[in-house]
Structure formats: structure tokens, C-alpha cells
Symmetry: C2
Subunit: 220 residues, 2 copies
DNA sequence: TCTCTTTATATTGTTGACAATGAACTCTGC
DNA sequence: GCAGAGTTCATTGTCAACAATATAAAGAGA
């Protein structure tokens, strides 16, 4: 506990709720009663209501009027929809990034890839993936695309939902070296300012990611 | 007045607020005070707060904590971002639609195009566009894509925002016959189940739409 | 006259009590 | 023993009063 706790605002509560959900403190399907949360955070139900609406807006909570809020669960169909959206958004990200990159940006991407390669070498089982480095790559590219609207959609809605999805359907292993190679091809296209190719490669990259996830789910 | 008005729920209020904004009853930049709205709808501030949060979630309202809500205004930069998002989403829609269409769907699209052509012929000035028929085409295609996530994003967030955008920066004339021809090419690709071509054509279609809007804005 | 401070007002944020709705349980009749 | 109706309980929705904050106006000093 840092010091004295000020009265938490709705936004604070929303942030902590999000964290709790993403970290697994609250499991998918779990009920989120207003009274319980109000007591837990030391405020009345008003701010908690606001916070629940906020978190619901980013798709981490299933909300039904007159019934209440639960941590969202994902069916396999919804998971596919999520990846289809991701394919669209990240494809556009790659296209835009390819149009706008400068020298410094390219250096940054290449450094990221090098780090990523190191991580994979030191974990030859490749089990470590969809790790922070993988996420980093997609986030950095989204930043380079310089489209705050799409960036926010990715960072504040889609990626959190993907995290929750993985908590829902345990998908342990990433695709390791495969993903890295695809990242490298994408960076090549981006560096060459080849917008359409970058977009195409990224969309295929996301499709491959979905295929990996999907076969993992159906094969067990 | 239909009959006796039940006490309006937060969702009802949100819907009427959305309508008011999209119809132009409330202009961009206009302040939306909780007290005023509460009185207007005959409820207390509680449900109004909920409604404002809801509408803010669909991007029609600018919300600042401790300050309040205003009808959203769009800068030209934000407008471009909107179109970039639209390009991504509708490109994916066309791709998915091309993958899934059946005979009946193709018939439906062709009928829509024929109607659209009629509308244009009867209004040779072409001023009438981005009319319901144009919107219909994109909505029907989105429906065919069979991805509720993307469909909702389009129907409940992006399209309303585009409507508000046009109310912000008056863009009178659509592209008339041009758009129709592009729609026809897209339907051809969709009918042939050519996913990548359909996606490509749609993305270019949206780009052309943006260019038309942009030149209209900067030229005056 | 202008700027900075201070005060007053209006608006949002929060709270606890009350109303309405949904879910669980019990009891009856078969 | 089981299905359905009625009742009870828990939870969400609503409200009006209060606290905290931001905006606007008024006044003092240079």
C-alpha cells in the first residue's frame, strides 16, 4: 500500500478492474456485483456503476440490464471474429506504417527484431511466445502508423480482449520462429515503403496466428 | 405523442440522444448538461449519466471528467482517421463476404445495384448521393460478411460518426455514378469468390470516397 | 488599463435510501 | 416424485440531497 488512499474515482476503479480481469484475479464468467465491488474499493455503488460501464465499453465485461455484469467469456466463434477484426486493423496499420516510416523508425523496428531473435534463441523450445516482444512489435508498428483512432482500438480494446481470450481458452505455445520470420518480412516491406505488400503480409501473419490458435483449440 | 410515457430507461434516453445528434437537433460542440437533459426526459440525473456514457462509447459525444459532455466535433485529421478505419473494416467485410456469398446473396446485391442505378438516373445532377442506397450497399455487404463484431462496429460506431462528420463539415455532393461503378466491380469480385480482389477494390473505393470528401473540404 | 487574486455560481461527482426487477425457494396439486 | 404457482430474497435501477470541482465574475494592485 503506497500511502494514504484517496477516494478512488470511477476511472481508477475501471483501471483496477481491467487489471484484475487481465491478470486473472477475476475469471471469465465470474459475477461482478456492484455491492461487492463498492465495498472492496471503499466507495458507494455510483462510481462502481460508472466503472463497470467503462470496462464494458472495452469488451472485457458482459453487461445485461437488470441482471448485472460478468467477466466476459469467448466462444470459439467470437474468437474468430476477434481475429478477423485484428486482421483488418493490423493490415491497415502495416499499410499506413509503410507509407510513413522514416530512417529512425526502421532502425527501431530492426532493433526490436534483433531482440526478439535473441529471446527465441535463449528459449529454443519456443514456448515463450506471444510474449512481450511479440506484442511489442505489433504495438510499435501501430504507433508508427500514426492513426490514434486505430491505435486506441487496438491497445485499449482488441489486445485486452485477446489477452482475456487466451485466459479463456488456454493457448500455451506461440509460433516462435515462424512469427519472427513473418515479422522480418513485414519490416522489409515497410522499410521499402511498399504499402500494399506490407498490408498483405500482415493480414496473412494474423491469419497464420489464428490458424495456430484454432488448431490448438480443436486438437485437444 | 403515442400514449402514456413510461419512465424512460437509460438505454431509451441514449437512443433518443443519438437520434437528436444524428438528426442535427443537437449541433456539434453543443454542451449536454445533465440537469437540462434530466428535465427534458423527465427523469433524474442518474439515468442521464448512464445514457451519456453509453453514447460517448459510440463516439458521438466528447466526454471530459469533471467538465461534462459535448456533441463531438471532428477535425480534418480525425476525419481522415475515421476513413482509415473504415478502409480497414470494409476491406475485411468485402473479403469475408466474397468468401461466404451464396446465390441468393448475389441476387440481392445485384438487385440493390439496379435500384441504385435507377436513383441516379432520376437525379442526373448526382447530388443525391451517399444516400440511403449507398449506405444500404455497404450495410448489406457487412451483413453478408457474417461477422457480428465488425458489423456492430460499423453500424453502431463508424457509420454514426460518419453521419455526424458530414454534419460537421458539410459535404454536399456524393460521387454519384462513380461510386456505383465501383460498387459493381466489387460485387463482381464478391460473386466470383475472389476474396483478395474484393478486399482490394473495397479499400480503393473507400480511399476514393475520402479523396472526394477531402478535396471538397480543402477547396473552399 | 491590464493582470492577478478572490469570490460567487453553476455543474459534475458521490452518497445512502427507496423502488422495481430477476432469481431462488417453498408449497401446493397432481 | 414432479410440475407449476406463489412468495421471499438478493440485486440492479432510480432518486434527491450533499460534496467537490471548474467556470465566470468581481475586485484589488501595479
Amino acid at each position: 500500500m503506497t500511502a494514504k488512499e484517496q477516494r478512488l474515482s470511477a476511472a481508477d476503479i475501471a483501471a483496477r478492474l481491467r487489471d484484475d480481469i487481465l491478470v486473472g484475479e477475476r475469471s471469465p464468467g465470474e459475477r461482478l456485483g456492484e455491492a461487492e465491488l463498492a465495498e472492496r474499493f471503499g466507495v458507494s455503488r455510483g462510481p462502481v456503476r460508472d466503472a463497470l460501464r467503462l470496462v464494458a465499453g472495452s469488451g472485457l465485461i458482459d453487461f445485461t440490464p437488470n441482471i448485472g455484469a460478468r467477466v466476459r467469456e469467448f466462444s470459439l466463434t467470437e474468437a474468430r471474429a476477434l481475429y478477423q477484426l485484428r486482421e483488418a486493423l493490423e493490415g491497415q496499420v502495416a499499410t499506413l506504417a509503410a507509407k510513413r516510416v522514416g530512417e529512425a523508425d526502421i532502425k527501431r523496428l530492426e532493433r526490436l527484431l534483433a531482440e526478439h531473435a535473441l529471446v527465441i534463441e535463449s528459449h529454443p523450445e519456443n514456448a515463450y511466445l506471444q510474449s512481450s516482444k511479440d506484442r511489442d512489435f505489433h504495438l510499435v508498428l501501430a504507433e508508427l502508423a500514426d492513426s490514434p483512432l486505430i491505435f486506441n482500438l487496438l491497445a485499449q480494446e482488441l489486445y485486452p480482449q485477446l489477452t482475456l481470450l487466451r485466459r479463456c481458452h488456454r493457448s500455451s505455445k506461440g509460433r516462435g520462429g515462424r512469427a519472427l520470420i513473418e515479422h522480418q518480412r513485414i519490416v522489409e516491406a515497410v522499410s521499402a515503403n511498399d504499402c500494399e505488400l506490407a498490408g498483405l503480409l500482415m493480414r496473412r501473419h494474423i491469419q497464420a496466428s489464428w490458424n495456430s490458435f484454432y488448431t490448438q483449440q480443436t486438437s485437444k
